[in-house]
């Protein structure tokens, strides 16, 4: 009797609000591709974190007698023209690729949310800000990034800055669109009516409900950013070739395509695997979070 009363007064969990772990688990069960995407991504991330442990040699160790060796026991991915181990370089490349992808996503999402929130709630600012975003989006991504790299100079930091600038409008558009829809809903009027402060409504009621499309967009931006970084480094205008990056390794292998195709093949496979897993994750999240957008 007493126990029952206590159970009624202090429910273990607020009904209708499942915990985060069970929500995530449900997500993976409903959409298998989310699970596959996360799994591949975790493997790539683990490889990046454990690169010093997994790499057979230092990625920059030059071993001229072992130059252009085909994949063998000592060098599972072969070696390049300086005898550097491609497996080690690919593993260290994962660190850079993932870092660039994540930081670009973080920066462009933050900037995009700020721009989108302002544009979605302020008519005057909306016109100006969205015209600017349209203008930035009028460039092919990679071309704008190349042009920015020309003036910023090649370095990892500048690749992050250039790509973040390029991808900010994508987030801003998504946020603005969601804000406009949500702000017109009745519960926002209700929040105003009970006297909630503007800032509180903006963050607690509007921004939180933009989360789904932003998360989906952010996943795709990570994929774009990793492809973008690879392209910039491949072209020689991204991260300097002394640092092993997937694009940079492929670029170095270009000259030895005839004798040593493995130099380019393995880092390329790493790019495909990472981007594929992010796209799977993004597709799955979109299906799960917003069934209206489902393309099937």
């Amino acid at each position: 009797m007493v126990q029952q009363a206590a159970a009624v007064r202090v429910p273990a969990r607020v009904p209708g609000r499942p915990g985060i772990v069970s929500t995530l688990w449900k997500m993976v069960c409903r959409r298998r591709i989310i699970g596959i995407g996360v799994l591949i991504l975790l493997v790539v991330a683990a490889a990046a974190v454990a690169a010093p442990l997994l790499a057979p040699t230092n990625p920059n160790t030059i071993d001229v007698p072992a130059r252009l060796h085909a994949p063998e026991a000592a060098h599972p991915f072969g070696t390049d023209e300086y005898g550097r181990d491609i497996l080690s370089r690919t593993l260290y490349g994962a660190r850079l690729s993932l870092t660039v992808g994540l930081v670009v996503t973080l920066l462009s999402t933050t900037a995009g949310i700020v721009v989108g929130l302002i544009a979605g709630t302020n008519r005057g600012a909306d016109k100006i800000l969205m015209r600017i975003m349209d203008g930035v989006m009028a460039f092919p991504d990679i071309l704008l990034a190349i042009a920015l790299m020309a003036s910023l100079g090649p370095s990892a930091r500048n690749v992050v800055l250039a790509l973040s600038f390029v991808y900010t409008p994508r987030v801003a558009r998504v946020v603005r669109g969601s804000v406009l829809v949500i702000a017109s809903l009745e519960y926002i009027d209700a929040a105003h009516a009970i006297g909630a402060r503007r800032a509180r409504i903006l963050v607690r009621h509007i921004l939180v409900n933009c989360a789904s499309p932003v998360i989906v967009q952010a996943t795709f931006i990570t994929a774009y950013a990793m492809l973008g970084e690879a392209a910039l480094s491949f072209l020689g205008v991204g991260i300097p070739p002394t640092i092993p990056t997937w694009g940079g390794i492929i670029s170095g292998g270009q000259e030895y395509l005839r004798q040593a195709p493995w130099i380019s093949i393995f880092p390329g496979a790493a790019i495909i695997l990472s981007v594929l897993s992010l796209n799977l994750l993004g597709d799955g999240l979109r299906d799960f979070l917003d069934p209206r957008l489902r393309y099937s």
Partner: protein
């Protein structure tokens, strides 16, 4: 229609203005003195000062912008610091290969994307559908430059069927020219077909759910006639949008693909200009490509009129 067109053209002005500001700022976000950066460490202070004056870099920024945009509007994009020829001529010289490659890449993307998308929608949830979507996912993940290199290894190095790099203008013989362009067009078109596959599929599935399709089936039309005569015509309208979107990705991809196959196009021009720090050329190319892209998107929107009589603005 006319009022819509004028409206659309006016709406382009602010976008193009932003494009111009961004292109202009590209030089001015350089840390330090752009003139010094262009000339390198070895240049004397006097040389730097001369260049600064020649380029008008010693004037206030707004003045520089107005002067620059004024000249650009008249088609004067300045002079290449490296080749000392007008930038507009430099661009014109490199435009041919890029335009040809983009057109061929688009063709490849459409030739793969639309049929695969149709098959995927018609045989919904079958293994064919799964395979098509798998192809679309894989295509979106493959960097075009890596695909290009793999095609070179396979078809130029191993089989020796096609040249691995170089370019021949179509005016010097179509066959010869195509030999050089087949691999680049595939490298560019295959990754870009994935968006078209997905759009064709979803658009066709939307249409197939309509009542008039059921009517067509009910009156005894064969499946093929329903798909091609009734469904596809309507499904193709939204695909136009994705063609516009793909064009941007394609132009960006062309920049990278050209480098792989040593095609003397805009991409090679811009990459070598970046390495030479030839800012007037970089500005000219980005301005030209962005403007072209804005106009292409307008044309795509206007094509809706031609394809869909329901669209009236």
């Amino acid at each position: 229609m006319l009022s819509y067109l004028t409206g659309r053209l006016f709406a382009l002005l602010p976008v193009l203005a932003v494009v111009a500001v961004v292109v202009f700022m590209v030089v001015h976000v350089t840390p330090g003195d752009p003139a010094r950066v262009m000339l390198g460490e070895d240049a004397t202070e006097a040389q730097v000062a001369t260049l600064r004056h020649d380029l008008g870099l010693d004037r206030p920024l707004p003045v520089q912008f107005v002067l620059w945009i004024g000249r650009a509007l008249r088609g004067d994009l300045g002079e290449s610091l490296f080749l000392h020829i007008p930038v507009s001529r430099d661009i014109a010289l490199h435009l041919g290969p890029t335009a040809t490659l983009s057109a061929l890449g688009m063709t490849v993307a459409l030739v793969i994307g639309i049929p695969v998308g149709i098959v995927s929608a018609v045989f919904r949830n079958s293994w064919l559908d799964q395979a098509s979507l798998g192809l679309a996912l894989l295509g979106a993940a493959v960097p075009s430059f890596w695909l290009g290199l793999s095609l070179i290894v396979l078809f130029a190095v191993d089989f020796g069927w096609l040249p691995s790099s170089g370019y021949q203008s179509p005016s010097n013989g179509l066959r010869q020219s195509l030999q050089y362009l087949v691999l680049p067009a595939l490298a560019l078109g295959v990754p870009n077909s994935s968006l078209i596959i997905r759009f064709t599929r979803s658009s066709l599935l939307d249409v197939l759910g309509n009542d008039y399709i059921r009517t067509a089936r009910a009156k005894g039309l064969r499946g093929r006639a329903v798909i091609f005569r009734h469904a596809l015509r309507n499904a193709l309208v939204p695909i136009l949008t994705v063609v516009g979107l793909t064009f941007a990705a394609l132009m960006g991809g062309a920049v990278v693909t050209e480098t792989v196959f040593s095609l003397p196009g805009i991409g090679q021009l811009v990459v070598s200009s970046v390495l030479r720090r030839d800012y007037p050329v970089i500005q000219g190319v980005t301005l030209t490509v962005a403007t072209a892209y804005v106009i292409i998107n307008l044309v795509v929107d206007l094509l809706y009129f031609a394809v869909d009589p329901r669209v009236r603005y």
